[in-house]
């Protein structure tokens, strides 16, 4: 595909992710607002979040000034080469920064220098997987630093939590992570849970759950049960929007699993702020379409 054209598709994908709140997230915030008693700070906070999202969408300005790190999950067919995808994604990220869809968010940890265009080592992050079918499917996640700091990994058993090597132990880890986050990760958050795997794949599994629709059903009935139970329980914590009290502490809980080593049992919690920004695109026979699920 023509490099400029491909870059243009990636640029539009980034613009949508940064400035348009996904419809499932918007609906979940609206449901939260209904749940909160009238005339409470929690109810008015959720209303303001929806109003902010409306303004951002109208003006193509970022929903949140922390436009996050960019994670591209790409499946590509034989008509695309990995190098052209990486080039297009990077060029689009730099262009999106110049257009103020993104804040310059790539800082060299040794020198402290901000690259100024969101490009750097590991930035943007791309996960490429080849497929037999022609065309391309790209899912983009923008995840801010505040919520990334609220993410955490556990190793079961955990004696502090009284958490053993089973789903009940997993449940306790998630309760602990959301309690510890309080309002710092910009609650009400979306909670991605990775069960099993190793240190890095476990975190990656947790983060990928954030791409799922808040309205989907986990194909694994045991995980469906865990997700539903945690959603109800976490909303009993009383942390509320921005940690200032209320019923709406999380918008959703999504869990995935990976086979683990016999010796290892990791539970990773990827906390995402209420501005759970994602956008997807499909390129087929030169035509692009954008969607959320």
């Amino acid at each position: 595909m023509d490099p400029e054209k491909l870059k243009g598709h990636f640029l539009e994908l980034i613009r949508r992710a940064s400035t348009v709140l996904p419809p499932d997230v918007e609906a979940a915030i609206a449901r939260g607002a209904e749940e909160e008693p009238d005339d409470t700070a929690a109810a008015s906070t959720l209303g303001l979040l929806l109003e902010n999202a409306r303004q951002a969408s109208e003006g193509s300005t970022p929903i949140c000034q922390d436009t996050g790190a960019l994670y591209f999950f790409v499946e590509y067919g034989p008509d695309f080469a990995p190098a052209e995808i990486e080039a297009a994604a990077s060029a689009a990220a730099a262009d999106a920064t110049a257009r103020y869809y993104l804040r310059p968010n790539a800082v060299d940890p040794v020198t402290g220098e901000n690259s100024g265009n969101n490009l750097g080592l590991g930035a943007p992050a791309l996960q490429l997987s080849a497929r037999a079918e022609n065309g391309m499917r790209v899912r983009l996640l923008l995840k801010g630093g505040g919520s990334e700091n609220a993410s955490v990994q556990y190793k079961l058993p955990d004696s502090r939590l009284g958490a053993g090597r089973d789903l009940e132990g997993v449940r306790k880890c998630v309760v602990d992570a959301v309690f510890a986050a309080q309002g710092k990760g910009c609650s009400p958050g979306v909670v991605g849970v990775g069960i099993g795997g190793n240190r890095d794949t476990s975190y990656s599994c947790a983060k990928k759950q954030l791409l799922r629709s808040l309205d989907d059903t986990n194909p694994d009935p045991l995980l469906t049960e865990l997700e539903e139970r945690l959603f109800a329980e976490l909303n009993e914590l009383g942390i509320g929007p921005m940690g200032l009290g209320g019923r709406t502490t999380v918008l959703g809980v999504k869990a995935g699993k990976l086979h683990r080593l016999p010796a290892c049992f990791f539970v990773s919690v990827s906390y995402c702020c209420w501005a759970a920004r994602k956008a997807f695109m499909t390129i087929r026979e030169g035509e692009v379409t954008y969607d959320w699920d």
């Binding site: 979040l49 929903i63 000034q65 804040r103 310059p104 968010n105 100024g116 700091n149 309690f179 329980e233």
Partner: protein, 195 residues
Amino acid sequence: MIGIKLPVSADEIRTLKAGDEVSITGVMVTARDAAHKYLVETDGEDVRDVLKDSMIYHCGPVVRKDESGEYSFVAAGPTTSIREEPYEAPVIEKYGVRGVIGKGGMGAKTLEACGEFGSVYLSALGGLATTLAQSVVEVLDVKKLEEFGVPEAFWVIRVENFPAIVTMDSHGRSLHDEIAELSKGNYERLLKGGR
């Protein structure tokens, strides 16, 4: 809604109570991680005059520069404040800062400094970036832009009717501590097996 005009006196700040909703108008300064380190380690000559009796906003904005070189804020919600906990109390004391605006609350040292020196911590709504940017009516100056980068620089801004809630006051009360305490009981029940 209580109107606060900057610069503001310690006496006026001491009338504010946790839970008060305020609307702030005047000149304040953004400062976050690199900026706080600088404020503690130097005499802060670039910003000390403007900080006196003003407020610090924990914010790393998206900033537009137009063709004539003028800056304006595009998106400007608060960043997580707790990272500045090691620095904030000395900054409040050293520079006479009357308020710190951010999200998520701060710790015991900051709460103590609010009481001792007459300051408050205010919560702005996290992720309210587009809406809050509209309260930033003018960018007056920027310091340390080259060195710290756009998110971390000191942006000297004029705000009008900037909305925030006092969540830590100068009388030792922190709404963050109260919510943490309240949720702790629920947390302990859920850890024991919940329902």
